[in-house]
Each structure stands twice: as C-alpha cells, then as structure tokens.
C-alpha cells in the first residue's frame, strides 16, 4: 500500500457532516420538531447576544425571546415553523431578515433529522443582487463553446463574490481534478491546467457537495464554535448547514495553500458531481447569504448548460463519425478497389474514430493513413493481434501495458482499436490513438502527503507544497468511446459485405472465363477442322494437275510444288492446334498407365518417324502413372520427340528417360545433349506459337510444348526444365501420386 492510499482511506473515514462545531461567522439554535424545545445551541451565541448557550438549552421556542432581549419582539419562531411545515419547505421564508440589536441578520431555517435548525448570519450586502445575477446569467449563456461557457461563468462568479481567484475544477473519471478555467487577480500564480489528486477531495466531501451546493469557509484562521447539547445526544447533522465547521485537515490544506477564505459551488451533470466552481480569497472574506444563493443559481445554470452542451458536443462528434461510416459505405459500393474506397477518398477510415492514425492489412498488403508507427512495428503488432484476438474487435487505451513490444511505439499507439476482417486471411484494421497526456502537472506531489508525527509514526498531513509537480503519464491514450466502437463494428459489416460481393463477382468472372475458354476450344477445334478440307482440296488438285500434265516445264512444276508444301505446312499446324484444343475439351479419364510399354512404343515411333535411329535413347525406370492414356502419350511423344529432334545433329546424340518416385510426386526426366534452350527465353518456352531462335532449322509449330503444359495442368502436374545452350536440356514432368 502506498502513501497515497493511506491518505485517501483515512480521510474518507472522517465524519465531516457531524463535526459538532460551526464556523464562527454566525450562530445556531436547533429545536425539537415535536416539542419545540431547544436541543442544540452554538457556544458562540454569546458573542452575538447577551446570553449563553447553556441557558437556552431545553427552553421552549416561544420563550426564547424572553431570554434573548436582542431578539425583536416581532420574531415569532412558532409562526415560521408552522409556515414551513405547511409549505413542506423553508424555501419561501429563507432568508428571513431579523434585526438583532442594531445589526441586520438573516435567519435561515432547515430541517435536520428531528430538529429544526435556525442559523443566524450577518447581512453584509446592502444592495439587491437579483439584477446583477440576471445579467450574469445572460452573459454566461451568450457563448457557444464549452470552454467559453466555463470561462464566462468563472468571470461572472468572480464579479459577484469579488474573490481573488475563481476556478472551474473538473473531476476526471478516476476522481482526480483539473483546473479547466480560471479567472484571477493578475498578481496571482495561475492554477489553470493543474491537476489535483483525488484524495484532495475525499468521497464524503464529494457527497456533501452533491447534497449542499455551496460551501463557504469564511476564515481559515478563526476559531470554530462548539455546539452544545445534552450529554449523550448525537452531534447535529450539518449536511445542509451554511455554517458547518471545516475538517482540520482541510483547514490545514487551505492554510498551506495560503488561502484565507474559500467558497465553492457544485456543478452537477446528469446527477453526478461534474466539478466545482472553486473560489479562493487570500484575505478573510465572508459572502452574504444572498450572494451565495446568487452564485448557487449561476452554478445551477452552468450545470444544466454543461449537461446540454456536453450532450450537444458529444452528439456532434457522434454525427461526424456516423457520417464517416455512411460516406465510406457509399465509396465501398461504388469503388471496386476496397483500399482506394477506404483510404483515398475525402473521408477515410481515419474519420470513423477519433484516432490519429489507422493501418489496414488487406490481401497481404499494408496501407496506412495518418500518424502510425513505422511499418515493421505495425507488422509485429498485427502479428500479435492475429495470434491473440478472440473477438472481432479489441481495444485498449494502454497498449504498452498489455503488449510490452509496443513500448517503442507508445507515442503513436498507446491506444489501439483493432477490428478483425478475416482471421484466416489475417486481414484487419487497427486505429491508433497517441499517448494522450504526455505530462500531468500536479499541484504538488500527490504521493507525498505523509509526514512523521512527533512520536515518530507516519501520519497523514495535507500538503505543504503546491509547487507544480510534473508527472509523466506513460503509455496511455484517450479512451475509446462506445460510439467509436459501434462505428467500427458497423464499418466492419460494410467492408465484409463489399469483400463478399467482390469475391462472388470474381467467382462469376471466373465462371465466364472458363466458359469463354471452353468456347474458344470448341471454336478452334471447329475452325481447324473446317480448314482442313479446303486445304486438302488445294493440295489434291495441285497434285492431280501435276500428275496429269506431264508436259509442264520445270519452273511450273517448281511453283506448284511450293503450293503443295505450303499446304502441308498448314495442315501440320492445324493438326497441332487441333490437338491443343482437344486437350482443353476432353475430360480426363484417369487410369493406371503402364509407362514402360508406353515409352518404349513412343521411342520406337519417334525414332522411326524422324529417321533418327542413330540417337542413343536410354530408358530407365518407368514407374506407373495415373492419367489419361491418350493425353499422356501425346505429352511424352512431344517431349521425347523434341529431345530426339534437337539432339539428332549432336555428336554421339543421346537421350535418357527416367522416372523417380518421390514422396508426393512421380517425376520423369527426359535428358538430351542437344542444342539447348536460351535461359533468357525461359518463360516463353511454353507459350503458344513461340519458337526459340536456335530452332529455325528444325521443323516445328511452337504448339507442342503448349500442348504438353496443358496436358500436365489437366493432370494437376508440373513441367519445368534445365538447359544450357549447346550442351543439352532436361525436361521434368511431375505427376501427383
């Protein structure tokens, strides 16, 4: 337990509403409601009238005047009580003007438990204060902003009570206070912006502030007066008193601060103590009852204005946020690019909360708006969130306390509000709030309220020093409000909707593409097929013509031969395209293929067709494959055919074919010592109609490898190669087991 808490606990125990004493600027008499007999009298009555407290105790109220000659004969207490009882309140009577001797007094009556309490205090104000207050109120309400409202109220109160310093003191959520407005005499040190620890105003004092809206401490140096009563009778409850004596701790506190008189007006918002108008005077200064009531009225009006303005300002902020969500959802509907919609428009993700920065990770890319930590640290944070987030939204205003690694980014990211878009994809949005109060200026060190008593024990003591003491509040941002969180949840829905819509659009597009692809296959199949017939006709007639016209000269023959060879080339090309189209069109009929016999057959066919018996073809292991007989045959024919074709002109041409069984795949390699493939054209090799520079002298269409690739794709397999120009090539074909 630290000192701070000891202080708070002890102070909280002090029964400040029943001190058994009053301040000495007035005196008090209380009578029993039933018997009208005097039950309490303040000891200091003798300072005001010629009598003593002891004499008056137990007297009936009707005979009080007989024992107090200074009371005017017209003063009929019974009559006043009767009136108050019939009205159920003394509001209409208070304050009741009484001349005691030659001095004007106010009599203020209120009920406390079983007693009517009568407090007498001097009248010091010789003019009617009502008009003054009316004007004050209209000046206070003339402003619009909250801070102006507070400033004006302080100014008006100062003019009304003429104290040296008037402050508006606001309680924060944790109970500590801050001076949010101040009007003071020029020579005084400003307190504006200073923070005061919660223990300065203990809980029961706060309760009294709520029950009794003004509180005057007329002179911290004056002696309190005891209240006499019967032996054994409890102390009078002075909650509603204007004279209640002050806790010695508080008196000490004020003395330490150099204050002689203090006056405060409670400010309530939605039934809770929002703050105080705290007034200090550096010489003793009593405030007349009517002036206090006037100040109370200003407090009341300020309270309701505060409540209204606060609601209004919160409302405005809420509106901005709601509008932002609306704008973003409109962008999302219009823009297919989700990131552009969320970050590139007039309204961005940033406006959805009161954050300073925001980062979004979408489709493995990170985007930021506003002030955010450096990218690599964001990445770490996102990683941590992905591992730890349970719900779709997570927020904290003290990130570095929960996530140590965030310490270096506390400046921009003490507060985060994270919203998971997709846990599987690791897509999320995180808003950042900066460290809010870099420094709190305390009026004195709140943790040094203990001092040693003469007997050596530690006792609590009000502070002596009110020197500004700066405390660094670390790793804390402004809190995330319910409105911000709701807005983020709403935005999340909109984003997810947009993402889903986009996903289904892509699916549709994919379907269309597939259909177009199939159509193209059908088209090329039909076209190629139909082209064959007229081509055959051209060639046939040409050959027939040549056959029947033996008289044709050599030049004529040569030209017609060219027609025939042109037609041949075209026929070959068309048949290749047909093959390619057929791969796309056919459904794969998976069966176990005996690769050994397939490859042996292919090698025989290829070497025969290419007249390449001199090529040494070595067939190694040929593990069984699962696939389509025709298509696999086509693929191997192409690859082996190429190997033979491009190595046929090498010295000691050699082709070796081997299959190995791996963990997941069966990989066939076809190695040759042929012309090789230029590695620069690596990616072009499998493209349709692409032929490498070094194969100009070889027959080919540039379709073969495209067919092979397509066949492999159909089999969910892969194809790749290693090659070196002039040395040879190895093609690899991998099939899933």
């Amino acid at each position: 337990m630290n000192n701070y808490q000891v202080d708070l606990t002890n102070c909280d125990k002090e029964p400040i509403h029943i001190p058994g004493k009053i301040q000495s600027q007035g005196f008090l008499i209380a009578v029993d409601i039933q018997s009208y007999q005097v039950t309490y009298v303040s000891d200091n009555i003798s300072a005001y009238v010629e009598t003593s407290a002891g004499v008056l105790l137990n007297l009936h109220v009707s005979v009080l005047a007989e024992h107090v000659p200074a009371f005017p004969s017209s003063l009929d207490f019974e009559q006043l009580f009767k009136l108050g009882r019939s009205q159920d309140s003394f509001d209409l009577i208070n304050p009741y003007k009484v001349l005691i001797g030659d001095s004007p007094f106010y009599l203020i009556i209120y009920t406390s438990g079983a007693e009517y309490v009568m407090e007498f205090e001097p009248i010091t104000l010789d003019f009617d204060i009502q008009n003054l207050i009316g004007r004050s109120v209209s000046r206070i309400l003339a402003t619009h902003s909250l801070s102006d409202l507070l400033g004006n109220a302080a100014l008006e109160v100062k003019q009304l009570i003429e104290y040296d310093r008037v402050m508006i003191y606001k309680f924060h959520d944790d109970g500590h206070g801050e001076v949010v407005a101040e009007v003071k005499n020029e020579e005084l040190e400003p307190f504006f912006g200073l923070h005061y620890p919660a223990s300065d105003i203990p809980q029961q004092a706060r309760n009294l502030y709520k029950a009794n809206l003004t509180r005057i401490i007329a002179d911290v140096h004056s002696e309190d007066s005891r209240i006499l009563t019967y032996e054994g009778k409890e102390n009078l409850d002075l909650t509603h008193s204007g004279l209640r004596a002050v806790s010695p701790i508080h008196i000490q506190y004020l003395r330490n601060m150099g204050v002689d008189s203090s006056f405060s007006i409670s400010l309530l918002s939605k039934g809770e103590l929002w703050g105080l108008i705290a007034c200090h005077n550096y010489t003793p200064r009593f405030i007349d009852y009517k002036a206090r009531e006037g100040a109370k009225m200003i407090g009341n009006i300020l309270s309701s204005a505060l409540e209204y303005r606060q609601t209004e300002e919160d409302g405005e902020k809420d509106e901005v946020i709601k509008d932002a969500v609306q704008s973003l959802s409109t962008y999302l509907e219009k823009d297919v690019d989700l990131i552009a919609a969320l970050t590139k428009q007039e309204v961005t993700l940033l406006q959805v909360t009161g954050a300073q920065g925001v980062a979004i990770c979408f489709e493995n890319e990170m985007y930021t708006v506003g002030e955010t930590p450096p990218m690599e640290l964001i990445e770490d944070l996102f990683g941590w969130l992905r591992r730890n987030m349970q719900d779709s939204v997570y927020h904290t205003s003290q990130l570095p306390e929960v996530y140590r690694a965030a310490a270096p980014i506390a400046a921009q990211a003490s507060g985060i509000l994270a919203c998971m878009l997709s846990k599987e994809m690791g897509e999320l949005v995180v808003w950042f709030k900066p460290e809010q109060l870099k420094t709190i200026h305390w009026a004195g060190n709140p943790e040094k309220n203990m001092e040693p008593a003469p007997d050596g024990t530690m006792v609590l003591s009000p502070r002596h020093s009110f020197e500004s003491w700066a405390q660094l509040v670390k790793n804390t941002s402004a809190k995330w409000t319910a409105v911000e969180i709701t807005a983020v949840l709403r935005l999340r829905e909109k984003i997810l909707y947009a993402v889903n819509k986009k996903a289904s659009e892509i699916r549709i597009l994919n379907e269309r593409l597939k259909m177009a692809y199939e159509e193209l296959d059908t088209f090329s199949y039909t076209v190629s097929h139909d082209l064959r017939t007229p081509l055959t006709t051209i060639k046939s007639y040409t050959e027939l013509f040549l056959a029947q016209n033996t008289s044709l000269d050599d030049k004529g023959k040569m030209m017609l031969d060219r027609v025939v060879s042109g037609a041949d080339k075209m026929t070959f090309l068309i048949s290749e395209i047909l093959k390619l189209a057929r791969v796309g069109r056919s459904d794969i009929d998976f069966s176990k293929i005996n690769m050994s016999s397939l490859i042996n057959g292919i090698v025989e066919e290829v070497t025969f067709a290419q007249k390449s018996a001199h090529v040494d073809v070595q067939i190694g292991d040929c593990p069984e494959l699962s696939g389509d007989q025709t298509l696999l045959s086509q693929a191997f024919t192409n690859i082996i055919g190429n190997a033979v074709k491009y190595s046929a002109k090498s010295e000691n041409p050699k082709v070796s074919i081997n299959g190995t069984v791996g963990e997941e795949e069966i990989i066939y390699s076809i190695r040759d010592n042929g012309i090789g493939i230029d590695i620069n054209h690596h990616d072009k090799v499998f493209e349709l109609f692409k032929r490498m520079e070094n194969v100009k002298d070889y027959e080919g269409t540039g379709v073969g490898l495209a067919i092979v690739k397509r066949i492999l794709e159909k089999h969910h397999g892969r194809i790749w190669f290693d090659s070196e120009l002039g040395t040879g090539t190895v093609f690899y074909m991998a099939f899933k087991k």
Binding site: T533, T536, T537, S540, Y541, T542, A547, T571, R582, T630
Partner: protein, 139 residues
C-alpha cells in the same frame, strides 16, 4: 442395275472428284459410284440388297449433312445381306472419339483422309491390295 466395286458416300464434290481420278490411277478397271446424301445412299444400298447385289467395298465420309457416316454404318449393319460387306470410315477427323465410335458400330477400318493426291494414291493402293487382292475370300 449393277453394283460398283466401291460405293462411296461423300458430300465434298472436290474430294469425290480427286478420289475418282485416284481410283482410276490405281486400277483402271475398278468401278466407283459416289452418293452425296446419306438418305439416298441407304435407299440405293437397299435396292442392291433386294437385287442380291453388293459392292465390294463401302467408303463412308464421317461428317455428312443430314445422316452422318456413323448413321449409315448402323443401317448397313442392319441389312443382313450387306452385313459382311467391308465398310471403311473415311474422314478428315482423327479424333479418337470418332475412331472409337466407328469401330464400336462395326466399321472394318477407320482411315484419316490423306492430304493430297499423291498420298491418296498411296492410300488407295494399299486398300486395293488388301481388300481386293489379298482378301478375296471376303467377297
């Protein structure tokens, strides 16, 4: 009415023309009759069957307008008198699906139309050699 040595159903007049020449080139004595339409072809074949005549070889183009070569093949196999006459499907297509279907319906052979006159002559020579010289027993 006499039946020809080769009964050919072909809608492509050019190809039919070339083939006629090629047939004469292979063996001048061979007779050839060409029908362009599947329906007419079947009617003619039925006439032959009634008259107890049969061609020595039937060549069917696969892709015909109206009835296809496969349809005609099916009908031929339904005519008892012609059931054993050799039928060869003759097409530009080399689609394995077509080849398979043809054999399933009882074709004796499936030939991809050779490209060009010279190839055609080679092709017909071997046909002639096989069906008319070596396999005389069939007819």
């Amino acid at each position: 009415m006499t039946s020809p040595d080769i009964f050919y159903v072909e809608d492509d007049q050019d190809f039919a023309f070339i083939l006629e020449h090629a047939v004469k080139e292979v063996d001048e004595t061979l007779t050839l009759s060409v029908m362009e339409d599947g329906r007419d072809a079947i009617a003619r074949l039925e006439d032959y069957a009634r008259e107890k005549m049969r061609p020595r070889l039937i060549l069917l183009d696969l892709n015909l307008p109206g009835l296809s070569g496969l349809d005609i093949l099916k009908r031929i196999k339904e005519i008892p008198f012609l059931r054993h006459t050799p039928v060869i499907l003759f097409s530009t297509s080399d689609d394995p699906a077509d080849v398979r279907a043809s054999y399933e319906f009882g074709a004796n052979a499936y030939l991809t139309k050779p490209s060009g006159y010279n190839n055609l002559i080679d092709c017909l020579k071997s046909l002639h050699d096989f069906w008319f010289t070596k396999n005389k027993s069939i007819n």
